[in-house]
Symmetry: C2
Subunit: 88 residues, 2 copies
């Protein structure tokens, strides 16, 4: 299934988050990722990221999980920094 993921974490945790997300998804822009994952890959990614983030310090991770992409359009204005797009 298609995934959009974005996080807002304390600067000292950014590189760990970036490294982990890059192993699963495509970088789109600062702290925003997109890509296709299986249910088990998504579970593993969430559990890995949950070990990194610190809720008390206000860290936030938001994931949109698309069962189907039929009802969603992706509009790009300007440069699409995500090259190998497999959404359309």
């Amino acid at each position: 299934m298609f995934i959009i993921l974005y996080y807002d974490v304390n600067e000292k945790r950014c590189s760990k988050m970036l490294k982990k997300c890059r192993a699963y998804l495509q970088w789109v822009q600062n702290s925003v990722f997109e890509g296709n994952l299986t249910e088990s890959q998504l579970k593993r990614l969430i559990s890995d990221l949950a070990k990194i983030i610190n809720e008390e310090e206000g860290d936030s991770l938001i994931i949109y999980k698309f069962e189907s992409q039929r009802y969603t359009d992706r509009i790009v204005v300007g440069k699409d920094k995500k090259t190998d797009i497999n959404f359309i």
Copy 2:
């Protein structure tokens, strides 16, 4: 319809983008917004933002437009900085 919007623009254009997006959508985290818009509101927002961004300098604006939210789940780990969520 429900909208997710994120942008990656040159720093000198950030405050203009923030101000314009805040007039239409809810701030979720740095350069990421969510909310419900009509088709005409979305058209106006896109045209306003298109006047701000500069593609030659690598600025990027990505919008996901949801005709229906039935096929999408929103997962939050840590803090949800978007308080008045009307997605669920």
